[in-house]
C-alpha cells in the first residue's frame, strides 16, 4: 500500500494557509496514484509529530511543500517526523539538488522516503510559467512580456535565492518571455523597484511562496506599488510607473503544483503511473476565449 504525505507550514493565524496543501492533496488523490494521501503541518493538525501515525501504507513518501532547502526541510521536518539517523548529507545536495533519503521513522518503525522540497524541483519551473499563464489568462503568454520571479532573499536562508535564480535562469533559457529577472523582498535587486528592472510594458510577477499570507497579500502589493494599502485591493494588471504589473499571489496556489508533488514522490520511487500526465492536463489554462 502506497501512501503520500504532504507536509507544509500551516498557520496559527491565517485560515487560508493550509488551502493549497489541501488542494494539491485532493488533486493527487483524484489521480488514484496513491492508496492514501495525507497532510501534516508545523502549525496545524495533524502536526508533523503525529501525522505518520495516521498513515496506513507501507510505502510512505513524504513531500515537503516548501520552496527551498533550509531550516525546515533540513532540521525541523526530519526531527519532528523522527527520521532515525537523519543527516542532511543524506541528500548530498548543493542547495538545489535534494532528491530523497530513505530512513526509518521512529514514530511508526517503518521506512519512509523523505523527499526534497517542491520548490527546487525542475518541474517547479513549469509551474511558474503556468502561473504566468493563469494570471494573464493567456496560455501563450510570453511575447513582449517580462517575468519577475520573486523570493524572500538570502537573509534567513541562502538557498532561498538559489531556487529563485535557478528557475529564473531556466525560464530565460526557453526564450519564451521578453525578459526574466530574479527579484527579492529583502535584498537587491528589490521587488520594490520592479519597473526599473524591466523594459517590457507588461510584467508578470510570480512570487515563489507556497501559501498566500502576509508576504504575498500585504507586503508585495504595497511594496511594488499596486496599492497604497493592501486592504484597498488592486487590479490585475495594475499600472505602476508605466509598467503593467500582472500579479495574483503565491505560485504555490497554482493547481499544477500537484504535479511537482507527484514528481518528487516518483523520483523517490513511487509508482504514479499516468498521474503526471493527468495532472498536467487537468490543471491547464483554457485556450482561447
Amino acid at each position: 500500500m502506497q501512501s503520500l504525505v504532504i507536509v507544509a507550514h500551516g498557520s496559527h493565524l491565517n485560515p487560508g494557509s493550509s488551502a493549497p496543501t489541501y488542494d494539491h492533496a485532493d488533486t493527487v488523490r483524484a489521480t488514484g496514484a496513491f492508496d492514501e494521501v495525507k497532510t501534516g503541518f508545523w502549525k496545524e493538525e495533524p502536526h508533523f509529530r503525529e501525522v505518520l501515525r495516521t498513515v496506513e501504507g507501507d510505502e510512505v513518501y513524504v513531500v515537503p511543500l516548501f520552496v527551498s532547502e533550509g531550516y525546515f526541510t533540513e532540521q525541523v521536518i526530519p526531527r519532528e517526523l523522527r527520521l532515525d539517523g537523519w543527516d542532511v548529507a543524506d541528500w548530498d545536495s548543493d542547495g538545489l539538488s535534494a532528491d530523497q533519503a530513505t530512513l526509518v521513522a521512529e514514530d511508526i518503525d517503518r521506512e519512509v522516503h523523505y523527499c526534497g522540497p517542491v520548490g527546487t524541483h525542475r518541474a517547479m519551473t513549469d509551474v511558474i510559467v503556468r502561473r504566468a499563464e493563469s494570471v494573464t489568462g493567456d496560455p501563450d503568454v510570453g511575447d513582449d512580456v517580462g517575468l519577475a520571479v520573486v523570493g524572500h532573499g538570502t537573509q534567513r536562508n541562502e538557498n532561498s535565492a538559489k531556487a529563485i535564480e535557478y528557475h529564473a535562469d531556466r525560464i530565460a533559457e526557453r526564450d519564451r518571455f521578453e525578459e526574466v529577472k530574479a527579484l527579492y523582498m529583502d535584498e537587491d535587486p528589490e521587488v520594490d523597484d520592479l519597473p526599473e528592472f524591466f523594459e517590457s510594458d507588461d510584467v508578470v510577477l510570480v512570487p515563489l511562496f507556497i501559501a498566500d499570507g502576509y508576504h504575498t497579500q500585504e507586503d508585495i502589493p504595497e511594496d511594488v506599488g499596486l496599492c497604497e494599502d493592501y486592504t484597498d485591493g488592486y487590479d490585475v494588471p495594475t499600472d505602476v510607473d508605466g509598467t503593467r504589473i500582472w500579479y495574483a499571489g503565491a505560485v504555490g496556489t497554482e493547481p499544477l503544483m500537484a504535479d511537482v508533488v507527484l514528481e518528487r514522490a516518483a523520483d523517490a520511487g513511487a509508482d504514479v503511473e499516468d498521474a503526471l500526465d493527468d495532472v498536467r492536463e487537468t490543471t491547464r489554462v483554457a485556450t482561447g476565449d
Binding site: S11, H12, L13, N14, P15, S18, Y22, D26, W42, K43, E44, E45, P46, H47, R49, E50, V51, R53, T54, E56, Y71, Q75, V76, R79, D107
Partner: protein, 405 residues
C-alpha cells in the same frame, strides 16, 4: 454526553427489554468474501465466526471439482459435505455473525486505529453479535470531543454512521447542511460559529449546523480524524498501552530557531510557570484533549489534565508558540507601580481579566452595568484612569520615561 454502547456485562438485566435484532439478509459480497477466504485455506483451520466455524471439506466428495464445505457449530455436531448452495443457506441462517465478520475483516480492515475505533463504537470486543445488532438497530451513540457519532445497521448487516455536532442531536437531517465526503470536514472545522479561525482543532469551539448523515465505516473514521486529527491514533495507542508521552522539558529542549528560547524558561526546580501554561491553554474549557504530559519524568503538574476521551501526548504547537511569548515576557523583572483605585475599580479590573480569560465578553449585555466587564463600565474606567497617552493612572511604564525631557 451519555454514550449508549450496548450492554455486555449486565446482560441479565437488559435481557427482557432488549429489542429484537433486525432481520439480516446475507449479501452476496459477504458470502463471496467467505468463499474467497476459504479458497486455499487449510481445511484444518476453519474460518471463525461468532458461534461457528466454516472450513473446506474437500475430503468427503472425492472428485467433486466444485469443492464442499464443513460447518462447525460451537454447540452442535459438525455438518460436512455442504455444497456451495447449502453453505449459503447455512450462512444465511447465521447472517448476523457472517456480516459482522465481513464488516470488520473486509470493510474496516486491519489498520489499528480505524479498527479499534469502529469496534469501540459498538463494543465489538465485549458484546455479542445479537446484542450489538439489536443495539445498532436502535442506534448506538458515542461522543468524541464535540462530535456525536450514531451507528446503525442496514438489513444487509452494513454499518452506517451519522456524524454531527453533539449540539445538533435530534435535529432532522434536512435542517442541517448534509455532506458525504469526509474531507469536507476540513472546511467545517476551519472557523468557529462566529467566523473566527480555529488554530487548534481540539478547541471546544466546533461550529454545528452540518451532518454526515450516512457514512460507511471507513468514511466515518476519516470524518472523525479530519475533525480531530490524530486523536483516534493517539487514543488507540493509549488503549494498547503504547502512548508515547513527551513531557514539557523534553519538548522544549527539542525546540530550535525562534522557539529555541523557550528552554531558557525552565530554571532550577521550579515548574510553577508550566502549571500556569497548562491552566491557561490545556484546561477542558480550552482544549478537549486530556493532557497526559507533565513537567518531566519525575514531576507532575499540579493542575488537572481534563476529562477528554482522547489524550494529549505533548505540548502542541499552540502551547509552544505561546510559551515563546511568555518566555520573553517572564524574563522581565517585576516593579512596583503605584496606582489609586477604588475598591470597586480593583474588583472591576479582576472582572475584566476574568471576562477576557473566559471568553465571556460577548455575553455581557450592553446595558448591564452591574457587570464589571461591561463595555460602558470599562470605557468609563478608561476615560477616568488613562491619560492622553493611554497610560494607566498617568504612571509611565518605564520609570525614567518622564525624566528625558
Amino acid at each position: 454526553m451519555a454514550d449508549s454502547a450496548p450492554a455486555s456485562a449486565d446482560a441479565e438485566d437488559g435481557e427482557a427489554e432488549r429489542p429484537d435484532p433486525p432481520d439480516i439478509d446475507l449479501p452476496s459480497d459477504a458470502f463471496d468474501a467467505v468463499l474467497d477466504a476459504l479458497d486455499g485455506r487449510d481445511p484444518d483451520e476453519p474460518l471463525r465466526f461468532e458461534g461457528f466455524g466454516v472450513a473446506r471439506d474437500d475430503g468427503d466428495r472425492e472428485g467433486d471439482a466444485a469443492g464442499t464445505y464443513r460447518l462447525d457449530p460451537a454447540d452442535d455436531d459438525p455438518r460436512t459435505g455442504l455444497s456451495e448452495r447449502e453453505l449459503h443457506e447455512a450462512l444465511d441462517e447465521r447472517a448476523p455473525a457472517v456480516t459482522d465478520w465481513y464488516a470488520f475483516e473486509r470493510v474496516v480492515g486491519e489498520f489499528g486505529p480505524r479498527r479499534a475505533f469502529l469496534r469501540w463504537i459498538e463494543d465489538a470486543d465485549g458484546a455479542t453479535v445479537a446484542t450489538r445488532y439489536a443495539a445498532l438497530g436502535e442506534g448506538i451513540e458515542r461522543a468524541w470531543g464535540e462530535l456525536k457519532v450514531t451507528a446503525t445497521i442496514t438489513d444487509r448487516g452494513e454499518r452506517r454512521y451519522d456524524v454531527r455536532h453533539a449540539d445538533d442531536a435530534g435535529v432532522p437531517i434536512d435542517e442541517l447542511d448534509a455532506y458525504d465526503d469526509p474531507l469536507d470536514a476540513r472546511d467545517l472545522v476551519k472557523l468557529d460559529a462566529k467566523g473566527r479561525y480555529r488554530p487548534l482543532k481540539t478547541a471546544p469551539s466546533l461550529a454545528g449546523g452540518w451532518v454526515f448523515p450516512d457514512l460507511g465505516p471507513r468514511d466515518a473514521y476519516e470524518a472523525v480524524e479530519t475533525v480531530y486529527p490524530a486523536t483516534v491514533a493517539n487514543w488507540h495507542r493509549e488503549r494498547e498501552g503504547e502512548l508515547d508521552v513527551t513531557n514539557w522539558r523534553e519538548t522544549m529542549e527539542r525546540q530550535s530557531g525562534i522557539y529555541g528560547v523557550v528552554k531558557t524558561w525552565d530554571r532550577g526546580e521550579g515548574y510553577e510557570h508550566v502549571n500556569w501554561v497548562a491552566e491557561a491553554c490545556c484546561d477542558d474549557s480550552q482544549c478537549l484533549k486530556r493532557r497526559e504530559w507533565e513537567y518531566d519524568d519525575e514531576t507532575d503538574l499540579d493542575v488537572d489534565g481534563g476529562d477528554g476521551v482522547f489524550p494529549c501526548r505533548e505540548p502542541c504547537s499552540v502551547v509552544v508558540s505561546a510559551a515563546r511569548k511568555w518566555t520573553r515576557l517572564e524574563s522581565e523583572q517585576p516593579r512596583t507601580y503605584e496606582f489609586e483605585l477604588t475598591p470597586s475599580e480593583k474588583e472591576q479590573v479582576e472582572d475584566v481579566i476574568d471576562a477576557v480569560a473566559d471568553g465571556r465578553t460577548d455575553e455581557i449585555r450592553e446595558a448591564d452595568t452591574k457587570e464589571g466587564a461591561n463595555r460602558y463600565r470599562t470605557r468609563f474606567l478608561r476615560a477616568k484612569l488613562f491619560d492622553e497617552d493611554g497610560t494607566l493612572g498617568g504612571v509611565p511604564t518605564e520609570p525614567d520615561e518622564d525624566d528625558g525631557e
